[in-house]
């Protein structure tokens, strides 16, 4: 009794403890479950992120050097496009502390692409984030940083850099601000370039940057000299179909593609369709020889008078006013004789050869910027005759280059490519001409450069062969006499042809050096000569004083004025 009375508080405590125990236990469990709910929420979120990110590392594990987008290199491994960590400059106008009136002129001085008013608008706006420059040089970032505005932010963003600037710009194309390929090989190869499995390996194009640079610089020089509105140049490996150079001038800098004009972005080599004129004559001759229309190249055809077919008159630019054999026809570029031979060949056989050369299709290669050639809808007799010397049918310079490759490589057509081909991946090709015809054409093409309109294309020791083509540009209601497309299609070395070069100048104007002539022999041919002497050594073609294709018997067929005979 007395014990109980002595410790009433103790009893109360014990009973309170007993009373509290279940509540405390229950509450403990509730708190634990709440905390576990948090843990579960976090794990669910991690699981969701795993699923939504695909669970795969963006960077393949173990390789920190893996770029976000594969490099593009030329056939020798020279970098043409690479992704770098560039700087961007941005500002948080709502957090800016400088006086806008002071900051705006300073920003304008450093980044003059916006006016002071534009900067004031940005600074006075309450926007949380504005990009001021998406691709900034580190020096500029340092200068802007030195302004001391804490609301500036400098971000590292991957940027596509084209270290060779405008070299092969039309081939490469460019990427947008999100790093996706927009045109050119950047767009064509989009998947390959972004594929995490293959990103580490650069993509090798068929282009040889040295050759491309030589063609670009010689073309640009000629374009300036002759005030041409455009130019295109192609170098092609005749045995594989690989394009070593593909250029269209004016071109652009893919590092700042948005600052170039549409004219500069237009690829004349793939999109420009031109009536390429006399460069067609060797093709017509080859077709005629192949089909047995011309069995003897020494046979002479009447070129005394311009040829009148209905209301058309076909005349020669360098009239000889006599009968001409095949070598003479090509050397003097006779429209009359070519038309006569085309007439004998007939629509069917001519179309068959043209189709075998794929003149009716867009060029077979990777770039999507190519259209369908202008193929005559109705082949009248005059159509056949004019098509024989390259009028009435419009193709791209690339078509022409490939047909010349077919002419000289032994007669095999192969699709073109901008990708470097391993030696075992060269396509078989389709036979268009026989070896014999091809051999004969090699001699004839060399003869044109030795004796005819193509003299200016010769490069000492490199045995160039080729054909000029000067066509008046078609316009509404006829042809424009002073607007020419001057083309030279060539191959070298002719004793063992390896490369085809096509040079095209759009509306060149002759100068004193050419005696005022704007024709291909005076404008395009010298470009070929200079390009060959520059790229020949790079491509391992050994110049020789003594080696050459034997054209003695062809030369013997040329008529010479008595005074010229030795």
């Amino acid at each position: 009794m007395s014990r109980l009375e002595a410790k009433p508080a103790e009893v109360r405590k014990v009973s309170l403890r007993r009373e509290m125990q279940p509540i405390v236990q229950q509450r403990l469990m509730i708190v634990m479950l709440l905390l576990l709910f948090g843990v579960v929420a976090v794990t669910v979120r991690i699981g969701w992120l795993t699923v939504s990110s695909g669970g795969e590392a963006y960077a393949a594990s173990g390789d920190t050097t893996l770029p976000p987008r594969a490099d593009i290199v030329d056939r020798n491994g020279v970098t043409l496009a690479r992704t770098i960590d560039a700087w961007s400059i941005a500002i948080h106008p709502d957090r800016a502390i400088s006086a806008p009136e002071e900051l705006a002129p300073r920003l304008q001085a450093l980044m003059p692409e916006r006016s002071v008013e534009d900067y004031l608008d940005i600074l006075n706006s309450d926007r949380p984030f504005v990009y001021l420059r998406r691709r900034a040089l580190p020096e500029l970032v340092a200068q802007v940083n030195a302004l001391g505005e804490p609301a500036m932010e400098y971000l590292r963003e991957p940027e596509r850099l084209y270290p060779q600037t405008n070299l092969a710009a039309h081939v490469l194309g460019w990427v947008n601000l999100d790093g996706e390929g927009v045109t050119g090989m950047e767009a064509v190869l989009e998947e390959r370039l972004m594929d995490p499995e293959q990103r580490g390996e650069p993509v090798a194009l068929s282009v040889d940057s040295r050759v491309q640079a030589a063609v670009q610089s010689e073309l640009a020089t000629a374009m300036r000299r002759f005030n041409a509105i455009g130019a295109a140049g192609i170098v092609l490996d005749v045995h594989t179909g690989e394009l070593l150079a593909l250029t269209s001038l004016p071109n652009f800098n893919p590092n700042a593609a948005n600052r170039s004009s549409d004219h500069a972005r237009f690829n004349q080599a793939t999109m420009g369709f031109y009536e390429l004129g006399s460069t067609f004559k060797p093709i017509t001759m080859a077709a005629a020889i192949e089909e047995g229309v011309v069995t003897d190249i020494s046979r002479r055809y009447n070129a005394e008078e311009p040829l009148e077919i209905g209301r058309f008159t076909i005349s020669d630019d360098h009239p000889q006013r006599r009968y001409l054999n095949v070598p003479e026809t090509l050397v003097h570029s006779s429209n009359i004789v070519t038309a006569r031979i085309a007439d004998q060949l007939g629509a069917e056989r001519m179309q068959a050869v043209f189709r075998e050369l794929h003149f009716d299709d867009p060029v077979e290669f990777e770039l999507p910027v190519r259209g369908r050639p202008i193929w005559p809808e109705y082949w009248a007799r005059t159509t056949i005759m004019t098509a024989g010397y390259g009028h009435g049918i419009a193709i791209t310079p690339l078509h022409l280059a490939n047909s010349y490759a077919t002419l000289v490589n032994g007669g095999v057509y192969r699709p073109l490519t901008l990708m470097r081909l391993p030696s075992d991946a060269v396509p078989e090709g389709e036979r268009v001409f026989s070896e014999t015809t091809s051999d004969q054409m090699r001699g004839l093409l060399r003869l044109i450069v030795q004796e005819g309109t193509g003299r200016n294309a010769d490069a000492d020791g490199y045995r160039v062969g080729g054909k000029t083509g000067t066509a008046e540009k078609a316009s509404e209601g006829g042809y424009r006499r002073n607007a020419l497309i001057s083309t030279f299609a060539a191959a070298f070395p002719m004793d063992d042809p390896q490369y085809v070069i096509v040079i095209m100048l759009n509306e060149p104007r002759g100068d004193a050096g050419t005696g005022g002539a704007s024709t291909a022999g005076w404008t395009a041919a010298p470009v070929v000569s200079r390009v060959v002497s520059r790229i020949g050594p790079l491509l391992g073609v050994i110049p020789s004083e003594t080696r050459d294709i034997d054209t003695a018997n062809l030369r013997a067929m040329l008529w010479r004025a008595p005074s010229e005979r030795s």
């Binding site: 405590k13 014990v14 509450r27 634990m32 576990l36 929420a41 976090v42 794990t43 960077a59 594990s61």
Partner: protein, 402 residues
């Protein structure tokens, strides 16, 4: 003297030392073996794993942090933060172990004294503190700089637990709830002045959880929850730091660059990670070694490592709470549950921020993030937790005593 003792003596005579097994063997009656058999060894194992993971994570994040904080005039060594972290742990782990050996009564007194000390220091922060990143949270100079609020957390919890337990052990009429409310309120005010919104949330929520466990009426709990929500709303409307943080999160307003980068880093490594040292995105992170270390782990060790860490924190919570179920001393229940709750809430908030589930606050991931104050304060807290959960293995249940 039995055979065994003779053998032991003989071995001492031979080697001059006794094998370690003797110190912690069940048969040995010394302080070390007593500690070993009383301590919650599962909890000790879990925290050891956590500290190991933390050291690896800081080693991974250290180069990124060193690069970020190096200037033209001064370059941090790549593993600077890793070496510093080892120093912090070499101080913190002994502190934790020593505290865990304290008799419970001594631990309680130690904690109460600490609570008073650091409360005073916290009061002085506005006058003596150093300003970092626009907040005045630190006190002291050089290596001796410390953040009183970090140290106050464990001591505060023990103090609140003690106050609340008075109602059960002494007199149920004591106004302990209002008393704890006043203490918490004063601390919250001091923290908001710094400003430190994240710590305020932790102090507040731990206090509410402890009230809940102490068995206050559901009516009061409902009122407090409403007050908590109201407080958050008030913070949102009247407290600019909270306003911007919450706006950023809810409406993706303003600059989401940091959060975006954290998310990108976290998922960059995929499920299995890029591998140690191979992370790239971590270099774009602010505070890769403290607030955003969870993202660095995600990048280099994969989301699987993030899973593991989340589960590890979950395991610690379960271990502590399940063991508390049959603890009869209300003070130990409250103190241990409060310490575990603080630990878990801090981890959850940090992970949620990294996973873009919560607005960003300056909150460290316990035992994983870099930081001297944080590591030593957590060591003290965990040491107290280990001390209060120590259980005499020979006295199984409370029922027998009552």
């Amino acid at each position: 003297m039995n055979m065994e003792a003779t053998v032991v003596k003989a071995s001492i005579a031979k080697t001059g030392r006794r094998p370690l097994g003797d110190y912690i063997g069940r048969s040995h009656q010394g302080p070390l073996s007593e500690w070993f058999w009383e301590i919650d060894r599962v909890l000790l194992l879990l925290v050891t794993i956590l500290i190991s993971i933390g050291l690896i994570a800081v080693a991974a994040a250290s180069p990124a942090a060193a690069e970020r904080y190096s200037g033209d005039s001064f370059q941090f060594q790549q593993l600077h933060y890793f070496y510093r972290q080892i120093i912090w742990f070499s101080v913190g782990i002994p502190i934790m172990l020593v505290i865990s050996t304290m008799p419970k009564e001594l631990a309680k007194r130690f904690a109460l004294a600490g609570a008073v000390c650091f409360f005073v220091l916290l009061v002085f922060v506005p006058f003596l503190g150093n300003e970092v990143n626009g907040a005045r949270r630190w006190i002291g100079y050089g290596m001796a700089t410390l953040q009183p609020s970090e140290f106050l957390k464990p001591f505060f919890i023990v103090a609140i637990a003690w106050l609340l337990s008075l109602r059960v052990t002494q007199d149920h009429t004591l106004p302990v709830v209002p008393a704890t409310a006043i203490v918490t309120g004063v601390i919250a005010l001091l923290l908001m002045r710094q400003p430190d919104f994240g710590q305020t949330v932790i102090f507040g929520s731990v206090w509410i959880v402890m009230l809940m466990i102490s068995g206050v009426s559901t009516k009061l709990l409902g009122g407090l929850s409403a007050l908590g929500v109201g407080g958050l709303a008030a913070a949102y409307f009247f407290y600019p730091v909270a306003t911007t943080r919450i706006n950023n999160f809810l409406f993706a307003d303003g600059d989401s660059y940091q959060v975006d980068n954290a998310m990108r880093t976290l998922t960059n490594g995929g499920f299995f990670g890029t591998g140690p040292g191979d992370g790239e995105m971590k270099y774009r992170l602010p505070e890769p070694h403290t607030d955003y270390i969870f993202s660095v782990i995600g990048e280099e060790f994969g989301l699987v490592a993030c899973f593991a860490i989340a589960l590890l924190f979950g395991a610690i919570v379960v271990r502590v709470f399940v063991k508390l179920i049959n603890e009869e001393n209300i003070f130990y229940v409250l103190a241990a549950a409060g310490l575990a709750t603080q630990f878990a809430i801090q981890a959850l908030i940090n992970m949620a921020v990294n996973l873009d589930m919560a607005p960003s606050k300056g909150m460290t991931l316990p035992f994983i993030s870099y930081g001297g104050s944080s590591i030593i304060a957590l060591s003290i807290g965990f040491g107290l937790l280990l001390a209060f959960t120590r259980r005499n293995p020979h006295l199984p249940a409370l029922d027998k005593r009552l």
